[in-house]
Amino acid sequence: MRDPGVYAEQLWAALKAGDETRAATAVLDAVEGGVSSEAVLLDVIAATQTRVGTEWAANRLTVVQEHAITALNDRMIDVLSAHRPRCAPHRLRVVVACVDGEWHAMPARMLTEMLSQHGFDVEYLGAQLPTPRLISHIHRTGPELVALSGSLSTRLPAAHAAITACQTAGVPVLVGGAAFGADGRYAYRVGADLWAPDARSAISLLTSGTPLPSPAGSSTGLGHLSDQEYTMVARSTAGLVGSVFAAVERLFPAGYSALDRERFADELVHLVEFLGAALYVDDAGLFTDFVSWTAEVMSAREISAELLDETVGALTDQLRDFPRARGFLDGARRQLVGL
């Protein structure tokens, strides 16, 4: 058997060219070359998704190419799924869904394929499913477990709502994905019953023989929400974005087009949303990680570091009366100086 990395390279070249036939050939070559279905999924296909992230950050791919490669990889999972040994479902009945408002469907799709490779009776509901629809689906079909995928930490409040609603319907919730932090720290904050760092660990967890926990239905440690900082920030996003935009406009690079300005404003929305999520789970690291990543992204696009620093500063001015928010913002600014 050849190293899956070789096929990942072959697949990557085809994906970048937008060539579905060549991409499918890479996947089938890997299968025929003796790479296990699980490794084709995680070490070939998922590996190229990770690469999408680094290439985009480095400004070597556009957002639309991200969508396009992800759409092709979605079909590559169909190709793999059609060419692997069938496995009759003999384990838990699981519903896989994304957090309401989540755009990253691929991680949930991969988890679904993994679960079905291992004999789980699994149903995938995709992204863009409003929580009320997820809940009525659960009432109708009565799964034993809900597996909830989240990539965007900004959707943690929505994840909390979905988890609570599933638990109220009597079903325990397993969560995973980048949204919950590399060590799953935010998963338990928003009340998840179980968390796994990746699909392989999720399988070990669910096949270990330990019975599923009964749905807990209470999150631990969200007492800080009573200071209303999260609510205030979430409610005044448009106002905050407007004020910060006006304060830093003078720093825009020469030749910044109307479209660039609009994109910048959209990035400001993300910034405020990440601050809101950090306030929700009371974790400075959540915000700092996003700011550091943004700094990297901006530097790859040759936008001066001053702009981001002043932006965070202007947001601090707006939130002077919010001690937790101010603490997170000051921390992020110190981190930026250190970069």
Binding site: E20, A24, P130, P132, E262, L268
Partner: protein, 237 residues
């Protein structure tokens, strides 16, 4: 040829809206193509849902005549007028047939915003078609545009939920036709699925947590890399 579609219901998705789309195979003898129908029935709730159902089934029944879009629209108009609905519908019909050079499209709008065409180089144009809405007046008129999609070109059919949504980073601007064209221009050369996903995402972010109208999007794409046999076998497996 590739198709991809998205439907975003209004509110939390519990209420039935008036936007819809269908893709039907064209009757045999027309070269293995498909008919895309996308429409918007005015209003919401039960009465709108009933009319939507009627429009969809009537068009399906009229498929054998679809070579002549104006004739089909006229018959649909008569059917609606005779059933005394006090609502109307705006529609786009697009017959798409794969040919050696790409995809041949015949597009007809009836009171609906014309579909946008994005070429592989990023140029965006509006299909040159227009006509009266259906279900209001005893006589209708409509013109059909003939468009050739070369490999890498996409035609996007959409409802005004996309362009008339209000929001944006500062919260009060309308998304508008021009922004849709710019968004689409960035999708040049992309597969249909990526085009609808991207447009849907940009529009949704524009609306944010605010109340949005229902929206339907359908993309027809002439792929840059046609699938070969090995992939086709895979898909059928």
């Amino acid at each position: 040829m590739e198709f991809a579609a998205r439907y975003q219901p209004a509110g939390d998705g519990e209420q039935v809206g008036g936007d819809f789309y269908d893709v039907h195979p064209l009757p045999s003898g027309t070269g293995g193509g498909s008919l895309v129908v996308l429409g918007d029935v005015c209003g919401k709730g039960m009465a709108a849902a009933v009319l939507t159902g009627k429009v969809r089934t009537t068009l399906q029944a009229l498929l054998p005549l679809i070579d002549d879009h104006l004739r089909v629209l006229t018959m649909l108009n008569n059917a609606l007028i005779n059933s005394h609905h006090d609502r109307f519908v705006t529609l786009v019909l697009a017959s798409a047939v794969p040919v050696a050079e790409g995809v041949r499209l015949s597009v007809t709008c009836a009171g609906h915003p014309p579909p946008l065409i994005v070429r592989r180089d990023g140029t965006v144009t509006m299909a040159e078609t227009g006509g009266t809405l259906i279900g209001m007046l005893p006589e209708i008129r409509a013109t059909t545009a003939e468009v050739l999609l070369a490999p890498g070109d996409t035609c996007l059919l959409y409802t005004d939920g996309a362009t008339e949504s209000h929001g944006g980073p500062l919260g009060r601007e309308m998304f508008g036709e021009e922004r849709l064209q710019r968004t689409l221009s960035a999708c040049a050369g992309m597969p249909a699925e990526a085009v609808v996903e991207h447009v849907h995402m940009v529009v949704s972010r524009w609306v944010g947590a605010r109340e949005h109208d229902d929206t339907a999007l359908v993309a027809v794409t002439a792929p840059l890399h046609p699938r070969n046999l090995r992939t086709e076998e895979t898909r059928d497996a």
